[in-house]
């Protein structure tokens, strides 16, 4: 699957199906500080991500 990461903006490719929580753990990203979006819609922690998905992992922490 293609994964868009932000701050800084970059794209990575991950092979194989994963649940959202597993993907965040694998990338070392806090569940409390990120949301996962597929086709403009949120995917919950146990949501299954497929090999052909394009997703965005959006950080929600702001420093202002």
């Amino acid at each position: 699957m293609r994964v868009l990461l932000r701050n800084p903006r970059r794209e990575i490719t991950i092979d194989g199906r994963r649940r959202v929580h597993a993907l965040l753990n694998e990338l070392g990203l806090s569940r409390e500080a990120h949301l996962v979006i597929r086709n403009g819609e949120l995917v919950p922690g146990d949501g299954e991500l497929n090999d052909d998905d394009e997703i965005e992992i959006r950080p929600v922490i702001s420093g202002g």
Binding site: R6, N7, P8, R9, R10, S30, R31, E32, A33, H34, L35, I37, G40, E41, L42, V43, P44, G45, D46, G47, R58, P59, V60, I61, S62, G63, G64
Partner: protein
């Protein structure tokens, strides 16, 4: 995962509520938390005209959206801070939101209206950029609210913001700041009433609100904020939250319930110690100089910054932030 309320498929899991929600009931939860904050802290009357400070980020656009939906009369205030492309983009998000909802938006520019910008102010005064930025914004919020006759200034501070500030203040045992860290500051001595209706929502929840409502906001972090302590405190609190869901809410809301009342005497004492700025007439807690005049912190900053050559944003970014920006520009 099913929604706790309707048993339809959930779109988000919220461990602190030990529950999952669909888009409709996530919005219901957010609305109810905002209504509870407004009610518990007696923030507004239904007829109040609210000045909503908007940055183009998720929190300020979410609070504006929710207040508008709840039927409050609102006007947005965007301040162009002169932080390069970041400021241009965030202004566009604020303008687009206002245009789509048909809501009035006041725009004030630090550079055009005051003769400086945040990077220049930071360099000219030796302050960290977030400090120069925060002080400038607070001054302008207060003045626009006063001049426009608004009943209150509303900001998008959320539970994570407040818990992080509380954590920093408690690390230093800064009791003066602790005494003022309340979701509602009443009007006093020329300062307008200030309210934070999102204090019961985490930033994951405010971001989710924007996504399910189709609100576009600036996702990129401010280039000046990289590496600031506030972000480090948030990360530390999120580590605790993951181990103990609800810890942030318990920490901050418990402070409001059990600790803040003990500090209220100190807060009232501070309210008595205000003078009028000799330059702009704003109320200020600044000390009076030997010549008997008192000049507020914003006017002192402004005087130094206006005389300084404009400083480009890149000069104040940390090395890691500059590297990241260059990498992003290369694609």
């Amino acid at each position: 995962m099913k929604c706790r309320t309707c048993r339809n498929p959930a779109i988000i899991d919220l461990p602190r509520h030990n529950a999952n929600f669909c888009a409709e009931h996530l919005q219901q939860l957010c609305r109810r938390q905002v209504e509870k904050a407004i009610h518990d802290h007696r923030m507004f009357e239904p007829t109040d005209h609210l000045l909503v400070a908007v940055s183009g980020g998720k929190d300020s656009l979410a609070v504006w959206d929710i207040l508008h939906e709840l039927g409050y009369r609102t006007t947005g205030l965007y301040i162009a801070l002169g932080i390069g492309e970041y400021s241009h983009e965030s202004q566009t998000f604020a303008e687009d939101f206002a245009a789509r909802r048909g809501l009035p938006l006041v725009i004030e520019s630090l550079r055009d209206d005051h003769g400086f910008d945040v990077p220049t102010a930071a360099r000219a005064t030796g302050r960290v950029p977030c400090s120069a930025c925060g002080m400038s914004k607070r001054h302008i919020f207060d003045r626009v609210a006063r001049d426009g006759g608004y009943d209150a200034v509303v900001t998008g501070h959320n539970l994570d913001d407040e818990a992080a500030v509380l954590f920093g203040n408690a690390l230093r045992w800064d009791v003066e700041y602790l005494a003022r860290q309340l979701p509602l500051l009443p009007a006093r001595g020329g300062f307008p009433r200030k309210a934070k209706p999102l204090v019961r929502l985490t930033e994951r929840e405010t971001a989710a609100w924007c996504i399910v409502r189709g609100i576009d906001y600036i996702v990129d972090e401010c280039p000046m904020a990289a590496g600031n302590k506030h972000l480090a405190y948030k990360q530390a609190l999120n580590l605790i939250e993951e181990e103990s869901p609800g810890a942030k809410a318990s920490y901050y809301l418990g402070f409001l319930e059990r600790m803040a009342p003990l500090l209220s005497g100190l807060s009232a004492q501070q309210a008595d110690e205000l003078a009028s700025c000799a330059r702009c007439g704003s109320p200020t807690g600044a000390e009076t100089a030997t010549d008997g005049s008192t000049v507020c912190a914003f006017c002192r900053l402004s005087e130094k910054a206006r005389g300084h050559e404009p400083v480009p944003v890149e000069m104040l970014m940390s090395k890691s932030a500059r590297r990241a920006a260059a990498k992003e520009a290369r694609g």
